[in-house]
């Protein structure tokens, strides 16, 4: 049994089939990249796993328990953490308070939540920003803050939506370091990514979507040689 299993997940928006019969799995402690051209349905699949959408059909299981159709807060409680394409920091709070809000899922006492939050801030290398307003941090710092906030709920699986988009090469390296450290703690990562240079070297497996359908699934080296994937990215020769 895998940590996360998608069984024939489809999501329809009116006449548009955003995901069609998508099945794949994520093992515990694995980094899985979910890639594909624009409009492939990556974020939709992602939102189905995180509870922001209910699949039109199919089933999603986390640790053997069905989570498809549950609201986001229940998915979070079940062990799914996530970040968004934009950081969505709580701007009325400091960096530490942002992470504390996450830690409070399991630690309701403010004092304990603060200790936990400081630990996660240090984990993503933001400890010196602890008492700075979240809104005053750079995009790259806020991305890592969002990761710390999601980790603070102590998830089994972390979903990251384009965490490397728009970052410069130094910032991408920092983020890669964070992702590898997360895996080292035994937390699985499912990463939607456009920046293939960032994801290809670190992913254990790559799942490729195109027009809502899964077209490839395997180790990065295999996937990048797959004619169907090349065709999807570059167009048919």
């Amino acid at each position: 049994m895998s940590l996360l299993e998608l069984h024939g997940v489809s999501k329809r928006f009116g006449g548009l089939m955003a995901n069609q019969d998508v099945s794949f799995s994520v093992e515990a402690g694995q980094i899985v990249g979910l890639i594909g051209p624009n409009g492939a349905g990556k974020t939709t699949a992602f939102n189905c796993v995180a509870g922001f959408y209910a699949p039109s059909s199919g089933r999603i299981e986390l640790d053997g328990k069905t989570i498809s159709g549950l609201p986001p807060e229940a998915c979070a409680r079940a062990g799914v953490g996530r970040t968004f394409q934009v950081a969505r920091s709580f701007t009325s709070m400091t960096a530490c308070e942002n992470v504390m809000a996450g830690a409070m899922l399991h630690h309701k006492r403010v004092h304990t939540a603060r200790t936990e939050a400081l630990r996660w801030l240090a984990f993503v290398g933001l400890e010196r920003f602890a008492d700075k307003p979240a809104g005053s941090m750079t995009i790259s710092e806020q991305r890592r803050l969002a990761v710390a906030r999601a980790l603070a709920i102590e998830p089994k699986l972390l979903l990251m939506d384009e965490v490397m988009a728009g970052l410069n090469p130094t910032e991408v390296r920092e983020m890669v370091k964070v992702v590898l450290a997360i895996r080292a703690r035994g937390i699985a990562c499912l990463i939607v990514e456009h920046v293939l240079e960032g994801i290809m070297p670190i992913a254990d497996r790559i799942v490729v979507l195109d027009r809502g359908i899964k077209i490839a699934d395997g180790p990065p080296v295999e996937v990048s040689r797959d004619p169907a994937v090349i065709a999807a990215y570059l167009g048919d020769a």
């Binding site: 979070a76 969505r88 920091s89 709580f90 009325s92 709070m93 809000a101 899922l105 709920i153």
Partner: protein, 330 residues
């Protein structure tokens, strides 16, 4: 921290002693009005400020508080202290219906739905014979003293209003310090991100609403005991709801003392225009309100308290910069 505590204690002592110092009933009355407006603002702020759900229907809870304690007193001889508590509990209970219907909407649409609620409640009470209909209810002055919460002079009402404000501030302070305060601010800032970290936002908005309704209703009961007369036109109007929102917005939403500052400024303007132009100020207070709202929205969206914090921060930075300059020069 120590300095702050001493300052706070001194301020509190001054406030308690105020009625002994000033014997002018007009001054005392203004002070009572300020305290009551501040208490309502602080109660409103729990939902509108911290959770960011701007309600323009809070007069419904105020009216329910005033009517519950008064009806219990007139029909069943229930002590007003108990009646006040009952009013708070009834308002908190009714807030579940209020939340169930209005929280389906967001932002401006939520605010508009809350106006509809208070209008409906007003129509119900205007036509409800048992509750005195449009004529209203009068509390007899036969029994006086602390037990009956009816007094011939103003001082005790001042202390009551001050006590209620402190109680509401203490509750808000406790909320701010607990996980509830963090969750409410998270919901206000980024509702989707709040859900993604496991916050059931519907439940927490409702908790904030129920608390806010409870304290608003206590204010309503106090009003009834002070004026000894209530009718739908005095305790169930949208203008009253707007005032609760306004003192918070002027002073600073989502801050502990913002509504208190806002209440001092707004109530003083209201009473000064009343004194200057007679009657209800011939609407001049409303014109000044409107002007103030525009000024706040354009220049100080975080309210007076926010503006003050910004000033303090800037002067600190300036001083720090000066100090480094001096060091560099030396």
């Amino acid at each position: 921290m120590m300095k702050r505590t001493i300052l706070f204690a001194a301020l509190l002592a001054l406030l308690v002693a105020l009625p002994l110092v000033s014997s002018n009933p007009a001054h005392l009355n203004l002070a009572i009005l300020v305290l009551m407006a501040a208490q309502l603002g602080v109660a409103w702020n729990l939902l509108g400020g911290y959770a960011g759900q701007v309600s323009l229907g809070h007069a419904a809870f105020y009216g329910v508080g005033a009517y519950t304690s008064t009806l219990l007193l007139l029909n069943f001889g229930v002590n007003p202290w108990l009646g006040m508590l009952a009013g708070g509990v009834v308002a908190a209970g009714l807030s579940f219906g209020f939340g169930w219907s209005c929280f389906r909407l967001k932002g401006h649409y939520f605010a508009m739905a809350t106006i509809a609620v208070v209008e409906i409640v007003q129509i119900v009470f205007t036509n409800w014979e048992y509750a005195g209909a449009a004529v209203g209810l009068t509390i007899p002055m036969a029994q006086r003293g602390w037990g009956a919460m009816v007094f011939a002079d103003k001082q005790p009402y001042y202390l009551l209003a001050l006590g209620l404000l402190l109680l509401t501030l203490a509750a808000t302070w406790a909320v701010e310090r607990s996980h509830l305060g963090y969750y409410l601010r998270a919901i206000k800032d980024e509702p989707d991100a709040a859900r993604s970290i496991g916050i059931p936002i519907a439940r927490y908005k409702q908790i904030a609403l129920a608390l806010s309704a409870f304290f608003t209703a206590l204010g309503g009961s106090l009003y009834a005991q002070k004026e000894l007369y209530i009718d739908p036109g005095s305790v169930l109007t949208t203008a009253l709801s707007i005032k609760m929102a306004l003192v918070s917005i002027l002073g600073g939403v989502g801050t502990l003392f913002g509504p208190v500052v806002g209440a001092v400024v707004l109530t003083t303007i209201e009473e000064l225009t009343r004194a200057a132009f007679g009657g209800s100020g011939r609407g001049t207070d409303t014109m000044i309100y409107a002007g103030l709202i525009v000024v706040i929205a354009v220049y100080y969206p975080s309210g007076l308290v926010g503006w003050w914090h910004e000033r303090v921060r800037r002067s600190k930075n300036k001083r720090a910069a000066l100090a480094t300059d001096a060091e560099a020069a030396a």
